[in-house]
């Protein structure tokens, strides 16, 4: 119950901010942070719960963006429809990738997911309808009441998407699916011996993960009013979506959220005040530091802190 209250408060807060007189740039930057909440949560479903390190976030994100563009260009579809379609297509891509690669162990799976990124990017580069390598300018439709600007509306839409993503992740975590995924992460062979349907569960996780990443990508073209392949399929999305859960903590749904909010906010502040590169450097350095020194992330550190405080009494 507490969870649902929390989610409702989050959406109300987002809407309230959007209708207030807060500076426009807050929503521009806040959109990106919320987008990473969705991406990190989505990544964690396969990467954190099941232990399959997916480097291919950019592929699902990019295909989601391009699906939205196609729907927008062909039929002038509204944002909600773009997001749904993007989720469906990326989910399908996730399913297909899973079929092809989930039989491979560890690093082979990860490298295969990188391959998917480049193949999808090459496909979009060669498709003139969506602009090829040149890209496309996109004129946003007029914004609907009561929002003052399209960016504010996107901010609220992304907040709702984040709430949906977190709810799905939480559901998976506490259900039998989560138990099965954890068994796979601990020892896939043992899980299979116990009759856990490992392939089905992994495919499910891969599909859901891909669908959510695609949904996050759908809002990107409208946000930028522009789309082009290199930035849509940038490996930076992959490394961020991986770093944020690793930093926040991979075993609980709250971990990716903490990681995304913390790292995303730092990134946005650094982009505005210092430079764009330092932004990526921050991600890389924090990832390495946490992976080496704090493998259970911020949540793990908090747990240790609580244990220390309790045991010192």
């Amino acid at each position: 119950m507490k969870f649902w209250i929390g989610m409702a408060v989050t959406v109300a807060l987002a809407a309230g901010l959007a209708l207030s007189r807060t500076n426009e740039y807050f929503f521009y930057a806040g959109f990106v942070v919320l987008q990473f909440v969705v991406l990190a949560t989505a990544w964690n479903i396969l990467g954190g719960y099941a232990g399959y390190v997916n480097f291919g976030t950019a592929a699902f994100f990019g295909i989601g963006a391009y699906t939205a563009v196609v729907l927008f260009k062909a039929a002038g579809a509204p944002l909600a429809l773009q997001i749904l379609a993007a989720a469906a297509i990326s989910g399908l891509l996730g399913f297909g990738t899973g079929l092809l690669t989930l039989r491979l162990r560890g690093i082979f799976f990860s490298i295969a997911t990188v391959a998917v990124i480049f193949i999808m990017e090459t496909a979009m580069v060669n498709w003139r309808y969506v602009g090829g390598a040149t890209g496309m300018q996109l004129l946003r439709p007029p914004v609907m009441e009561p929002f003052e600007s399209y960016t504010r509306m996107l901010f609220v839409a992304m907040a709702i998407l984040a709430v949906i993503a977190v709810s799905i992740a939480r559901y998976i975590e506490v259900s039998w699916i989560g138990r099965g995924l954890r068994a796979i992460r601990d020892s896939e062979e043992a899980a299979e011996c116990f009759g856990v349907p490992t392939l089905k569960l992994k495919l499910f996780a891969c599909t859901v993960s891909g669908a959510l990443m695609g949904a996050a990508g759908a809002a990107m073209p409208m946000y930028m009013s522009f789309i082009e392949p290199p930035s849509s399929f940038s490996l930076t999305y992959s490394v961020s979506a991986l770093a944020m859960p690793m930093i926040g903590g991979t075993s609980h749904w709250l971990g990716p959220v903490i990681g995304a909010v913390l790292l995303g906010s730092v990134q946005q502040i650094v982009t505005v005040t210092i430079s764009n590169e330092i932004n990526v450097l921050v991600v890389g350095v924090l990832l390495v530091v946490f992976v080496v020194a704090a493998p259970d992330g911020v949540l793990g550190l908090l747990k240790k802190l609580r244990w220390l405080l309790r045991s010192s009494r």
């Binding site: 990467g47 232990g51 390190v53 480097f55 092809l100 690669t101 491979l104 560890g106 690093i107 082979f108 990860s110 490298i111 295969a112 990188v114 391959a115 998917v116 480049f118 193949i119 990017e121 090459t122 496909a123 580069v125 060669n126 090829g132 390598a133 020892s187 490996l235 490394v239 991986l242 770093a243 690793m246 590169e277 330092i278 990526v280 450097l281 991600v283 890389g284 350095v285 990832l287 390495v288 992976v291 080496v292 493998p295």
Partner: protein
């Protein structure tokens, strides 16, 4: 599609393929033999290219610079492996995922570091053999490709001989095949792996020099080379040096033909496509154990 163009494409493909093999050979050792999830290998190669560029500004010939950098990169490799071993390999099961994430993060740190120091501009080197071509009748073969081909061949041959003829070389192969047995025979597998990783990284310095001879470099070049190097290593079969050469040639020739027939927009997908096909159909590669 004329026969002459096809022939030129194949010749270019052979030169390119040998270059790809040399670029991947460090990964063949690090990943193929030592099982280290070294996704930062292309990034270290690009680092080698930039070091070559810096030396080039002082008048060094790029290939000479590459050879001079090898001992430095050897030490770098030893340091990286030591760190990786202490942080991950020792600790067991979960380490696989985190080790992978570590190398991914390392690759990004190197890439961004290069951007911060050198900017995003393309960098080139000058040499007597860059910018001129060998004329064989109607064919024109750029000298820079011939030089890269020669160096690549020498490097591959050298490493193959080292691994099969010398004592440490064979110890490296042994540790890849059966680590417990090696331990029982009194050799320290960690030291051997450290040494091997160092050699793999040292070789990568020369690969980086070849990379900047063949064309201009920029910091994000490592991204597309992840596909090329892993495609070669997987197609070869883990741990096979001659396999690396064969796989490199296959990749080089396919890329060259696709380039000629379909244009440069499809070329990057060749390596990654080959990689997926290899993983899907024959994960142990052509010559794998």
């Amino acid at each position: 599609m004329s026969f002459e163009l096809l022939l030129e494409a194949i010749v270019f493909g052979v030169l390119l393929g040998c270059f790809y093999a040399a670029v991947s050979i460090g990964l063949s050792v690090a990943f193929g033999l030592l099982d280290v999830p070294h996704v930062a290998h292309p990034a270290i190669m690009v680092l080698g290219s930039y070091c070559t560029y810096v030396l080039g500004r002082y008048g060094w010939d790029p290939i000479v610079a590459g050879i001079a950098l090898m001992p430095l990169f050897f030490l770098l490799g030893v340091a990286i492996y030591r760190f990786y071993y202490e942080s991950f390999e020792k600790r067991g099961s979960d380490a696989g995922v985190r080790g992978l994430a570590f190398f991914f993060g390392l690759a990004f740190i190197i890439e961004v570091g290069l951007i911060l120091v050198f900017g995003v501009d393309q960098r080139m080197v000058e040499a007597a053999y860059i910018g001129r071509s060998l004329a064989l009748g109607e064919f024109r073969i750029p000298w820079r490709m011939v030089v890269a081909f020669g160096v690549a061949l020498a490097l591959t041959a050298g490493l193959t001989i080292y691994l099969s003829r010398t004592f440490t070389g064979r110890a490296i192969k042994a540790v890849a095949q059966d680590e417990p047995a090696l331990r029982l025979m009194g050799a320290n597998p960690v030291r051997i792996k450290q040494w091997a990783f160092g050699i793999a990284t040292g070789v990568t310095a020369l690969a980086g020099a070849m990379l900047i001879v063949v064309g201009p470099v920029e910091p994000s070049l490592d991204r597309v080379y992840i596909g090329r190097t892993f495609a070669v290593v997987v197609l070869a079969g883990l741990g096979s040096m001659t396999g690396t050469l064969a796989a490199g040639l296959i990749l080089g020739i396919s890329e060259s033909i696709v380039l000629m027939q379909f244009g440069a927009s499809w070329a990057p997908a060749v390596a990654f496509g080959l990689l997926l096909v290899a993983l899907g159909i024959r994960p142990q590669g052509l010559f794998g154990r």
